[in-house]
Every structure is written in C-alpha cells, then in structure tokens.
C-alpha cells in the first residue's frame, strides 16, 4: 500500500467537463452552415481556401510551438477556428500564398506573440484581415475577386457599391438576397441565415454571450436607423447594414471571441453597442466600405477599460465592523 501513490490536488474535485476543445468544436459546428454554403456557392476554390486557411493556421501554431519550445496547444483547435474564420472572411479566389500569409499574421502576430490562447488582446483573425487589407487590398476586393464567376444576382460587394455609388446602388440588393447569401463577399460571411442559425446555436450552447451579440446588432440597427431617418437618401437603411458585409459574422462569431471581449454584463452591452455604432460610423462617414474588422478591433482595444465596470464583490462597501 505504501507504494501506491495517490493523486493529490486541490479542491474542487469535480469539473463540469467543459473545455477549450468543446468550445472550439461548437464554434466549428456553428460555423459549418455558413461555410458549407460558401463552398456550395463559390465552388471548389472556396473549399480550397477554407481548408488551406484552417490547416495552415494549425501548422503555424505547430511551428511556433516547436520554435519557442512551448507546449503544443493544437489539440484545442483554437488555431483551427482562427484559420477557419479567416477563410470564411476572404474571397474564394484568394491566392494560396496570401491565405498562408494571412493565417501567419493571424496566428503568430495576432495570438502567439501575446502568449497564446486567452492572451490575445485583439481577435487574431481580424488582425490578420486588417493587416492584409492594409497591405494587399486588391486580394480582399470582392468585386474583382469574382469577375470570372457567373452569378444570377448582382455581382457587386454591397458595401463597396454603397460607398462608390451612393444609395442608388441599394436597389440591386434585396434583404432576402442578402439574408440568403445572394451577394458576393467572404466565403462564409455572405449566408446571413446560416450565420444566424449557427450563432443562435452557439448562444444556446453557452459558448457565445448573447449580451454581446444582441447589443452589437442593436448598435448597428439603432445607429443606422438614426442616420437613415435623418438622411434617407444619403444613407442606407438599417437592415441593409445588418445583412451586408461582415456585420453578421462579426456579431455572432468575431465580437464574442473570449479573450478580447468583456465578461461582465454591462460591459458586454457597452462593448457590443460600441461595435455596432462604430461599424455604421465607418460605413457612413469613414473611408472604408466595411468597417466591421476595424470596428471590432476598436472594441477589442477598449475592452480592458470597459470591463472594469463590474458588480461589487461580496462585502465590498460594507463598513468593517
């Protein structure tokens, strides 16, 4: 009996069985509808981009873990989700080397240098997209990306069209088309319905916080409505903003990323609302057609500040007897 070594650990001795892998697996499941639609919609190249993005992101994670002699965290699938999200936000025609560079930036510069999962102050995928947009905007231009495709709908990126042509461009986009993915855009970001279904699944599973999603969407709608009501002929209607571009994928999958979003209720509401507000500000008065990426990065940036708003801890403020 003396040689039987027991396990000694600290309470609690139970765990609810939740894990990072579970979380990411659920993210994966939730992303599937939109991703599958993207593959169906944009064909084999889309599948290639998604597969390459996911696998290269995981590969970068492996390479960096080996280089820095850190524990391999690939089994968590964290990088896979980063890569998949990256793939879903880019056009299906993106050259392979741009995808690999993008996932490198996302995984390494977005996450790894900050100390890995949980430490990234910004959403890694968005860091990748933002830096790529700054460097090689041509590869992320949806209008040129799909020139060789034949679509039975207006093959214009709705937001770019809005920016370039003003409100009369809106006529070519119906809300139903936008919702059903009849638009050009990122592989997985066009199918609004799929994103909404996946997102709701994620919320129900408890892996995305509904407060953020709801307030984000509210931010978009309220701000867009304000603009629209004031100048209906200059600005697009709120639903258009909600259903076009990255708005939905941003609301359901990007803004809710754990380590760059708040955990307390009021900050979550502020965070989401601010994100929605910024998107509309950028779209309506800024220079970028779709401000989702930078808007979410901006709320990521203010997250540490607003997340200090939290309920009083037990006994705080009670005079010490």
């Amino acid at each position: 009996m003396t040689n039987t070594k027991l396990i000694v650990s600290h309470a609690p001795f139970w765990h609810n069985g939740d894990s990072l892998f579970q979380q990411n697996l659920n993210f994966f499941i939730a992303l599937l509808p939109a991703a599958l639609f993207g593959i169906f919609h944009f064909g084999a190249p889309a599948l290639g981009v998604l597969a390459l993005a996911t696998s290269s992101a995981m590969l970068w994670e492996v390479i960096m873990s080996v280089l820095s002699k850190k524990k391999m965290a690939i089994a968590d699938m964290d990088s896979a989700i980063i890569g998949l999200l990256f793939g879903m936000m880019v056009p299906a025609t993106m050259p392979w080397w741009v995808v690999i560079t993008g996932t490198f930036i996302a995984v390494v510069l977005g996450k790894f240098v900050f100390g890995g999962t949980g430490a990234n102050p910004f959403h890694p995928t968005l860091v990748g997209i933002a830096i790529l947009t700054m460097s090689w905007p041509a590869f992320l231009d949806f209008d040129t990306a799909y020139v060789s495709y034949q679509f039975d709908f207006t093959a214009l990126a709705p937001l770019a069209a809005l920016k370039a042509q003003g409100t009369y461009a809106l006529a070519s986009f119906s809300n139903y088309d936008l919702l059903m993915g009849n638009e050009v855009g990122g592989i997985g970001s066009t199918f609004g319905l799929g994103i909404i279904i996946g997102g709701i699944y994620l919320i129900l599973k408890g892996y995305a916080r509904w407060e953020i999603v709801a307030s984000f969407i509210a931010g978009v709608l309220i701000t867009a409505t304000l603009f629209f009501v004031l100048h209906p002929d200059t600005y697009a209607p709120p639903l258009f903003h909600l259903l076009s571009g990255y708005t939905l994928i941003g609301a359901f999958f990007l803004a809710v990323e754990n380590s760059s979003s708040p955990v307390n209720r009021i900050p979550m509401l502020i965070y989401g609302f601010l994100g929605g507000l910024m998107i509309i500000l950028v779209r309506n008065i800024g220079i970028y057609p779709d401000g989702t990426v930078l808007a979410i990065l901006l709320i990521n940036l203010v997250n540490p500040l607003i997340d200090t708003i939290r309920p009083k801890a037990l006994g705080k403020g009670v005079p010490n007897a």
Binding site: V113, A119, V282, Y288, L297, L301, P304
Partner: protein
C-alpha cells in the same frame, strides 16, 4: 465653433500624436505598464502641453516673427518648454504637494517628450490662430492621453500573459502599440 470641434476630433483620433505622428513614444512605452502611471502621465501631458502651446505661440508671434528670427524657433521653444516644466515642477512641489504627488513626478519625463515640442511646432507650422493653437494643443494632449490609457489597459493584461521570453516587455509593448495604431486607422476620413 464647428471647425474647432473638427480640429479637436482630428487631433485626438485621426492625427493622433502617438499613433499617427510618432511623437512621444518613449514615455508612451515607459509609463503604460500600469494604469495608474498612464493616467498620471496623461494628465501631466495635458497640463504641460496646453501651457507650452500657449506660451510658444506667444513667443513665436511676438518675439520670433517680430524680430524675424524664426530660425531660432527650435532653440527658443525647447528652452521655454524645459524651463516651464522645471518651473511647474518646483511650483507644484512646494505649493500643491498633493497634485505634485499625482502629476509632478511625471513632469521630468515631459521635457524629453517630443509630443510637447512637436505639437508646439505643428501649431506654428499650421499657422493656427491662438484659439486654434489652444484647442489643438489640448486635443493632441487628450489624444496622447487616450492612446496611453487604452494602451495601458491592454498592456496590463499583456504583461501578465505568457509572452515568449524574447518578446517580453518592450518588444511586445511595441507590437501591441502597432496593433493600436492599426485600430486607430478606423477613424480615417471621418472628418
């Protein structure tokens, strides 16, 4: 009034002194490790920058331009700023020790803060009126403080994260700052 507001917004966000103009980066990295110091530094910069902006504007108009010796701008400005900072430091220490404890210790950092000198020079270069100079000084300083405080918020977390050894401290601080600069491009074109 509207113009001044636009000027202020552009100075705070779009032309942010730290992230777009690269001025004042040494204290930006040095004092952003803790939120407390960041807030203190931000306040001190606002205070000094407004003072310096006013004084140098006056010096420029009534001395340099009047005597047609604009080429002495650098020397005279920096001397005025350095003396001002030192004076304010001594004054606070003696007269308002409470404030000194909060702000004063940051004052020496400001002498070599290129943000102050830079803004003073920008004010002259842009040929701002006195009011404009005042607003721009204040707005630039607020922009400095805003960036510093946002940065400190992120950095407080980054410092505690398991950053790879070679990247720790300044290195990751710079990368984080780069990300913030990236984020600040969101304001482009908004005015």
């Amino acid at each position: 009034m509207g113009d001044l507001f636009v000027l202020a917004i552009s100075c705070i966000f779009i032309n942010n002194i730290l992230l777009a103009q690269f001025l004042g980066n040494c204290p930006f990295l040095g004092t952003s490790k803790k939120m407390e110091t960041a807030v203190g530094m931000a306040m001190a910069v606002i205070f000094v920058l407004v003072m310096a902006g006013m004084i140098t504007w006056i010096v420029d108009l009534y001395l340099l331009k009047a005597l047609n010796v604009e080429f002495l701008r650098t020397v005279s400005f920096i001397l005025v700023i350095a003396s001002l900072v030192q004076f304010v430091e001594m004054f606070l220490k003696k007269s308002i020790p409470g404030l000194y404890a909060g702000l004063g210790i940051f004052l020496p950092l400001i002498t070599t803060n290129c943000a102050v000198m830079g803004v003073c020079l920008i004010n002259i270069k842009e040929e701002y009126t006195f009011i404009q100079a005042l607003v721009s000084s204040f707005a630039y300083a607020v922009g400095f403080g805003l960036a510093l405080i946002l940065f400190a918020g992120v950095r407080e977390r980054v410092i505690l994260a398991r950053v790879p050894k070679a990247l720790q401290d300044t290195s990751i601080g710079l990368i984080t700052a780069g990300m913030i600069a990236l984020v600040f491009t969101v304001f482009r074109g908004m005015v």
